[in-house]
């Protein structure tokens, strides 16, 4: 990928490429978490869901030969984890943050346990579309190779925004998230709505995981996810529970994650590991800037425990 003729111009180009390439898991997890949190519950377990999705997607793609079946399987496994989270949280006296931590550890452990046989073999990966057919510059091709899941996410974000604003389902979900009492008074089952919201969130989180193992980096191993799930959960807070802002934020985080490799290409190798931590530092900084002890965040669902 390194072409010395392009020099430092390769860095912004690599960042654009990185934003497109590595934003997809952030995007899917944050869209899923956005739906879950709109219902008034936080699911920190999406970090575990991501790893489980990566493992099951890879395993099914390897066994069936179809990466798309893998994506579907990852989504189903993710929604099972979401259902588990919702069912435990529906019990009296149970704290959703603690359940999320438990499911995070459980998902990671289970994925490592079941995924052991799939570390060696190589499974068919997801296809990508080359948006740089008009150019001969290889870096441009590398940067603009767009994976199909990214495009799905691109369509999904405005669709979710529209659904939340304009459909009966969206309204009920937002009501449950803002005031469980009001929803109960209207005759809706709070736990039932949250069950749907969490399992849908888990479905998207699982798909985000399958992207890691089926497209980029494109294989399953135990070091695959390092905090993308938890970063995406924080990203939802930064995006003010708005799916379109989630999309832009995911692009930003993808670009931040590409700083290290991009600088390495132009020969800056010192601090490679520090640059790899850029998404986490960025998340922390954004949380420091946007949070305040005095007021709740604009747009925050009223029932959400993290911002209380």
């Amino acid at each position: 990928m390194a072409d010395p003729a392009l020099g430092w111009w390769g860095v912004p180009l690599a960042l654009v490429g990185g934003a497109i390439r590595s934003s997809t898991p952030f995007l899917f997890v944050s869209l899923g978490e956005c739906i879950t949190e709109k219902g008034g519950r936080i699911n920190l377990g999406l970090e575990g869901t991501l790893v489980m999705g990566a493992m099951s997607g890879y395993a099914v793609s390897f066994l069936s030969g179809s990466p798309w079946l893998g994506v579907l399987a990852a989504g189903i496994v993710g929604s099972l984890f979401g259902i588990l989270h919702a069912l435990i949280c529906a019990l009296p006296r149970v704290n959703d943050i603690a359940v999320g931590i438990a499911l995070m550890l459980f998902g990671i452990g289970l994925a490592f346990f079941l995924g052991k046989p799939f570390i060696q073999p190589s499974a068919p990966n997801l296809p990508s579309i080359d948006l740089a057919w008009w150019s001969a510059v290889p870096q441009l091709h590398a940067a603009l190779k767009v994976n199909v899941l990214f495009l799905v996410g691109l369509l999904l974000a405005p669709a979710i925004l529209w659904g939340l604003r304009n459909t009966r389902w969206g309204l009920v979900l937002r009501m449950v998230g803002d005031s469980a009492d009001a929803a109960r008074a209207m005759g809706y089952s709070v736990n039932g709505v949250r069950l749907w919201a969490t399992s849908l969130g888990g479905f998207l989180g699982g798909i985000g995981g399958s992207f890691l193992s089926l497209y980029y980096p494109g294989s399953w191993n135990e070091r695959l996810s390092s905090g993308q799930g938890i970063t995406a959960v924080a990203l939802v807070i930064f995006a003010r529970w708005d799916p379109m802002l989630c999309f832009y934020a995911a692009l930003l985080f993808g670009a931040a994650g590409a700083i290290g490799p991009a600088l390495q290409v132009v020969g800056v190798t010192s601090g490679y590991y520090l640059f790899n931590a850029a998404p986490y530092v960025l998340t922390l900084l954004i949380m420091i800037i946007t949070c305040s002890p005095k007021r709740a965040l604009v747009g925050a669902p009223g029932e959400l425990s993290v911002i209380k």
């Binding site: 019990l91 603690a98 931590i101 438990a102 990671i108 931590a277 949380m287 420091i288 305040s292």
Partner: protein, 351 residues
């Protein structure tokens, strides 16, 4: 009142034990699906964890860091905070300890160890103290912030052992230069168990006394119970939050130093071994009570100590103990619903 109190005490013991038993049953079914006889598995686990003096030593060595990393979750829990970043403080504490040892060649072993311990405690304390400060001054969610800082800590560790602090002699596994065999923390006489176990037990006892028998601990528990009440009676909430978080980070920071000075002999990727994550489970299982952490840490140490035996004899992957921990954690949280509903216990008297 006495009835209600004895009922509460009975529940606090019975419910976690029931959860543990339930998790073991479900996990037994899970391994049975893999064609492994659950009874044989548990028999083997018992032997690998507590069956002989050899396995007891292995268990206690693994329990030692858990005692300290569990405090990272247990202490802020008194304030109503959920901190899960013990792994980060562990890594930073270990790295700081290895770093200060570098310029101190030739200093007597005991003094070197004291300086290293101080470095680990201060580095870990500041690491989690920062989480407390963010929570108190900026309203940043401490659970997410502490977990993000785990990944930042690991990145700093990788950067330091690959760059500024790299020992040129460590080729395959980048590490800091070894602190030297003469400077290592030794084992307790007649055992293979290093002194870290004693430090851990002492720390848990001190944490218990601090939280249950001092004004500071009482104030902390008031804040955890009702922040507004604490504010009305004029408690210095900020100072208590910061001090508690500093102590919460100091414990895993010390554990990181012990890992470097008693086990690894240098800082490298090995010190990021998941003790911080297991510590979260230990703290929850002990219901954030520092004294109960001691037996729970031994139990969890035993589960991880038996992992090697399960791998060799039954061909199970090394993640088996992680899965069992996951089952236990999930069962434990679900069992929260049982409080106040246990049959066969004296009924709560209405007053």
């Amino acid at each position: 009142m006495a009835m209600a109190e004895s009922r509460e005490a009975a529940e606090a013991t019975l419910v976690p034990i029931l959860a543990l038993a339930g998790a073991l049953v479900v996990f037994g079914g899970f391994v049975a699906l893999r064609g492994v006889d659950p009874l044989a598995l548990y028999e083997l686990m018992y032997r690998g964890a507590f069956g002989s003096w050899f396995s007891w030593q292995n268990t206690l060595v693994r329990a030692a860091p858990l005692l300290l990393t569990a405090l990272c979750t247990a202490l802020p829990a008194q304030l109503g905070m959920v901190v899960i970043g013990g792994e980060g403080a562990f890594v930073i504490g270990g790295l700081a300890a290895a770093a200060v040892a570098l310029p101190l060649r030739g200093v007597p072993a005991l003094e070197l160890q004291l300086v290293m311990a101080a470095a680990g405690i201060v580095a870990g304390g500041l690491w989690i103290g920062a989480v407390g400060a963010l929570r108190h001054y900026r309203g940043v969610n401490e659970t997410i912030a502490s977990l993000l800082m785990v990944y930042i800590a690991i990145a700093i560790l990788n950067h330091m052992v690959e760059g500024p602090l790299k020992d040129p002699a460590s080729l395959n596994k980048p590490s800091t230069p070894p602190i030297g065999a003469a400077n290592m923390i030794g084992n307790m006489p007649g055992t293979e168990i290093h002194w870290g176990l004693v430090f851990g037990i002492v720390a848990c006892c001190l944490a218990y006394v601090l939280m249950q028998h001092t004004v500071f601990g009482f104030s902390a528990r008031v804040i955890g119970g009702n922040v507004r009440a604490a504010r009305i009676v004029g408690l210095p909430i900020g100072r208590i939050v910061l001090a508690t978080c500093f102590l919460a980070g100091a414990a895993p920071g010390l554990a990181g130093m012990i890992e470097v000075a008693a086990v690894q002999g240098q800082a490298n990727a090995n010190i990021n071994a998941g003790y911080g994550l297991t510590g979260i489970l230990v703290s929850f299982l002990a219901r954030h009570n520092p004294l109960v952490i001691i037996p729970v840490a031994v139990l969890l140490g035993g589960i991880s100590a038996s992992g090697g035996l399960l791998q060799r004899r039954l061909g199970l992957p090394d993640a088996t103990s992680l899965v069992l921990q996951g089952f236990i954690f999930v069962a434990l949280l679900a069992s929260e619903a049982l409080y106040g509903r246990m049959p066969l216990l004296p009924r709560l008297q209405r007053t």
